[in-house]
Symmetry: C2
Subunit: 206 residues, 2 copies
């Protein structure tokens, strides 16, 4: 239960709890911090928030955040046109971009298939993805959905669509994460890692 | 290092890190959360923040946050006029109000004395406190500054001012916090608790 301050402060505290991971206590601390010490920064935040809400929309090609019709990645001609990475959310694009290991383009789904919640292919934007597969020169589709039941189901569904259009399909490798200790891993991860083991010398697998 | 998004989003992420306890990673998560799922709540937050910055000022009597000349506590005639609790910040007023154990009024200092940083009596608003002690009918001054070196020094300084004006002065009790286990307490707290021990029967102290 947060303390009662002035009406405008109470409203600010309430609105700050809309932020993920912020409860009434931190919201109160944030509100008082801005008002007591950082009035200018508070004003800057209010403006930045309004601006972002007005300016930021979706890229018409990949559905990523963008301030123009096409996002910076789709506009970048140095990106490989034929390599398309399908992810569940914008945060996944950010994560992959930070590895700097991918030079293709993206397609951002609106989440994953979840038939029980009434979320089918149409709801997550697979129609647009189909158009892209048909019109554009996609050679390989990398399915980078989550390693959850819904993520796997979504990958499977899109994989079949791609295969029927003669597009190569791949899925992110599953295995032991970097720094992972075997004793602490769940058996699902470990059995995946065993199954997909990588032979170290070209001829040892034969 | 936060990921590069669109310019407006980058700016929003930067401004969100102004909030206490929010780093670039949480700021990115907050920004994407608001834009992806909670556009309306985001707009509400931007408005609440601007409004609070415009409307909320200081109570002219106690220096607490207020949207009018006097704050709700100073306006409340049921509050004991003669009992004044001196605290270092607005958050302390909130903490004490939540106990519902205090029915007097407050005076909010602007922090504590810190001569090395050039913060003297004037900077933390002791001039206004002096005026109150002279003009108004304060009978007891409760020094509720922090139990830190600076808090103690501030309490000592104000205590002397009050004593020279024949006002009763008290300081919050120091001792074992509720639920505190002796083995885990620092020796400073424990020696305070020992020194200020409370005799349980009226005559056992004699």
């Amino acid at each position: 239960m947060p303390a009662r301050l002035t009406p405008a402060l109470d409203q600010l505290v309430k609105c700050l709890t809309y932020l993920p991971g912020v409860g009434p206590k931190s919201a109160t601390r944030m509100a008082l911090h801005l008002l007591e010490r950082e009035q200018n920064k508070g004003a800057e935040l209010a403006i930045a928030l309004s601006e972002a809400l007005t300016k930021v929309g979706r890229c018409q090609r990949c559905n990523n955040f963008s301030e123009s019709d096409l996002c910076s990645i789709c506009k970048d001609t140095r990106r490989e046109e034929g390599l398309l990475c399908v992810v569940e959310a914008t945060t996944d694009v950010i994560a992959i971009e930070q590895t700097a290991a991918f030079r293709g383009r993206y397609f951002v789904l609106k989440g994953h298939l979840s038939p029980l919640d009434g979320i089918g292919p149409k709801e997550i934007g697979i129609d647009l993805l189909k158009e892209i597969m048909e019109k554009q020169t996609v050679k390989e589709l990398i399915l980078a959905t989550s390693a959850t039941v819904e993520g796997e189901a979504t990958a499977h569904f899109i994989g079949e669509l791609a295969q029927s259009r003669n597009i190569k399909v791949s899925r992110l490798a599953q295995g032991i994460p970097m720094g992972g200790e075997l004793g602490l891993l769940d058996s699902g991860t470990l059995s995946h890692a065993l199954e997909d083991r990588k032979f170290l010398f070209a001829d040892s697998g034969n």
